[in-house]
């Protein structure tokens, strides 16, 4: 929020470039048609929420991101989180895993088990989910370019335990387009990457109907510097790209659109975020109905995880992040999210400690059980300001989407580096505005007291023995598997990758005989090649 002197009151301009008046009244929403533009919760255009009773029926799902070191350590943290009342899991993988490298790859050195769990073969996932009721909980796998392999591993874990695939609930993040914009775990070029997503959607719609094969992440685009409007607009353009790809394969929109999920970011101005989500729900419903001809209302709903973002947290006076997290959770609840996650207070500098992760979970529980956030649906509806702002945000999102469409869509806009440049330019402007004090950040550019050096924080210890142990396990698996089966599975995978056939059955076969993630990725690299990053700033 920018403020500059204008006459006797300060001008307020939101990050998305919308000017805010000091007072709003009925005249600001006089053209608003309640039935057409807002409607009842659970009904088109879903502005107020995607379910008729929202949290009265069931509070939001609480899902903290976790996982580190070895499968065993991760398994213990999962069990602990479930015991504390967390209702779903979100698995963090280390960077080598996210980039399809085995733990013994030279490029993985120093990174094994550092920012998440190391996953080389099915064996690791079996151990991570040992004793966890995968038929009852839903699991989010935060993995992108090699999501197809991770999905295959998760499904084989279920298969071996005798859990029918139609009972498996969960999400693979699997949003490759946003990886090229921010976050950066990409491997293959754009087209084959989208083909892998298409293969997963097709496979899941037939065999794993309760699984979300991809979750489009405005979150990381915003974290990379985008405004709230750009976050929503680019996420929608990405989702449209995947949807169009799947439609081109001959699937019907209502066969899979109900499983399209989103992941959004919360930090910054409270009202702007709430309006962003209300506008987003309305616009998405219209896009699905009018552009894609969806008939099933479920296909028109914007289902989302909306989490307190790391971008709003500060390394200065980290305890303030607990307070920020609580406000972000409040925004998330006022915005009608389905799932909530919060970056922990120490996340600006380390993997969340157990204490910080618990505070995040408790924040959400306090909100749900003590503060009345579940009492009534979309309590801000009807506010002159919120309804006006929802309309303004929608207009801005549409304008931003039109720019991308004029360039020929998201694939072109990402391959040319346009989106990356827009976002990094925005990040630079934001940084300058923070440093000039135009955007206030408490204890950073306003009310600054302590020195950064004084902070007393608990770091997640990194144990290099984890890597050694992981490499040993990998060797053990490799020496006990049937090499003939593995090489046959990999060669079938390679042949199929060269055709247009769905790759999932071949990936499942390779995983079943303990082919490693690195081996499967190497086959894809050989057939697909690698992404060439546009590095112009």
């Amino acid at each position: 929020m920018a403020k500059s002197k204008k006459e006797d009151i300060e001008e307020v301009v939101l990050e998305s470039g919308i000017k805010v008046k000091p007072v709003y009244g009925p005249e600001d929403i006089k053209d608003l048609d309640y039935e057409r533009e807002i409607g009842r919760p659970g009904e088109f255009p879903f502005t107020r929420g995607i379910h008729p009773l929202m949290y009265r029926q069931r509070p939001w799902t609480m899902r903290q991101y976790s996982g580190f070191g070895s499968a065993k350590e991760t398994n213990q943290r999962f069990k602990w989180l479930l015991e504390q009342g967390q209702t779903a899991l979100n698995v963090a993988f280390d960077l080598p895993t996210q980039l399809g490298l085995d733990s013994d790859d030279p490029r993985a050195e120093g990174e094994v088990g550092r920012v998440g769990m190391a996953m080389d073969t099915l064996k690791d996932l079996e151990e991570a989910f040992d004793g966890i009721p995968i038929d009852r909980i839903s699991t989010s796998l935060t993995i992108n370019p090699v999501a197809s392999v991770m999905l295959a591993m998760y499904l084989v874990v279920a298969e071996k335990r005798g859990v029918p695939l139609d009972q498996i609930r969960g999400t693979t993040q699997n949003d490759i387009l946003k990886e090229y914009v921010g976050r950066g775990t990409w491997i293959f070029p754009v087209e084959p990457s989208i083909r892998l997503i298409g293969d997963m959607v097709e496979f899941c719609s037939r065999n794993v109907p309760k699984f979300n094969p991809f979750s489009v992440c405005g979150y990381h685009i915003r974290e990379s510097g985008a405004t709230p409007v750009q976050e929503m607009a680019y996420a929608f353009e990405i989702a449209i790209t995947y949807i169009q790809h799947v439609l081109d394969r001959g699937l019907d929109i209502d066969d899979f659109a109900g499983r399209v999920a989103f992941n959004f970011d919360i930090h910054g101005n409270l009202w702007e975020q709430v309006a962003k989500f209300r506008a987003g729900r309305r616009l998405w419903a219209k896009i699905m109905k009018e552009r894609f001809g969806a008939r099933d209302p479920r296909s028109m709903t914007l289902r989302m995880i909306a989490g307190g973002g790391g971008g709003g947290l500060t390394i200065e006076e980290p305890e303030n992040n607990i307070v920020r997290g609580a406000y972000y959770a409040l925004i998330s609840a006022l915005s009608g999210t389905q799932t909530m996650a919060l970056c922990s207070y120490d996340e600006a500098y380390t993997i969340p400690s157990k204490k910080a992760a618990l505070i995040s979970l408790r924040t959400m529980q306090i909100l749900a059980d003590e503060m009345g956030l579940c009492d009534t649906v979309d309590p801000l509806a009807g506010s002159y300001y919120i309804e006006w702002l929802t309309g303004e945000m929608e207009k801005k999102i549409v304008e931003c989407m039109e720019k991308v469409e004029e360039m020929g869509g998201m694939i072109k806009a990402v391959e040319s580096g346009y989106i990356q440049r827009e976002v990094s330019h925005q990040a630079y402007l934001y940084q300058k505005r923070v440093q000039s004090g135009e955007i206030p950040k408490i204890a950073v550019n306003k009310y600054v007291t302590g020195k950064i050096e004084d902070r007393d924080i608990e770091f997640h210890p990194f144990d290099s023995k984890v890597a050694e142990e992981q490499k040993r396990r990998l060797q053990e698996v490799k020496s006990s598997r049937d090499e003939n089966k593995v090489s046959q599975a990999l060669s079938e995978l390679k042949q199929t990758a060269k055709t247009n056939e769905n790759l999932m059955p071949c990936i499942l076969n390779a995983v079943r005989c303990y082919a490693t993630l690195g081996e499967i990725t190497a086959v894809f690299k050989e057939v697909f090649g690698e992404f060439k990053e546009p590095v112009g700033i």
Binding site: R114, G182, S424, Y428
Partner: protein
């Protein structure tokens, strides 16, 4: 060699590098913008580069400054390797900056490796620009 149009002096050439597997490039790109605004010539390596590749680019491009941005926690081994390779290739004239998620307690270790400046997240853009201008001037005598 490119000249600064305003001052007629040689422009400082900076390589912004992202080593290893970490994909957090917001800080790197913000600095690229800031350095360019400050009149420097800026090159960005892109993601997932090995230290060998970074040293090779800095040699080929004859840069004055190498700024390496690391958020994964692997800053100590990566910086150590960079400094060793620069020494091996006789490239000790380069000004080396490390940025990202760097805990205070590691700053001394990095300086002992021979790193010239450490700027953790939250550092002022102007402060980094000033540091480069002063130190490059000093190095060039």
């Amino acid at each position: 060699m490119k000249m600064n149009e305003a001052t007629g002096k040689r422009r400082i050439k900076v390589l912004i590098a992202k080593p290893g597997l970490d994909g957090h490039d917001r800080g790197a790109k913000v600095l690229a913008h800031a350095f360019r605004d400050a009149g420097m010539e800026v090159l960005y390596t892109g993601l997932h580069k090995t230290i060998d590749e970074i040293v090779k680019i800095s040699l080929e491009e004859d840069v004055d400054v190498i700024g390496m941005s690391i958020y994964s926690g692997a800053h100590l081994p990566l910086s150590k390797k960079l400094m060793e390779m620069l020494r091996d290739k006789n490239l000790t004239d380069k000004l080396v900056l490390i940025g990202g998620n760097i805990p205070h307690r590691d700053m001394e270790t990095l300086k002992n490796y021979g790193v010239d400046g450490v700027f953790s997240s939250g550092s002022e853009l102007d402060e980094i620009v000033k540091f480069i201008n002063e130190r490059v001037k000093k190095k060039n005598g």
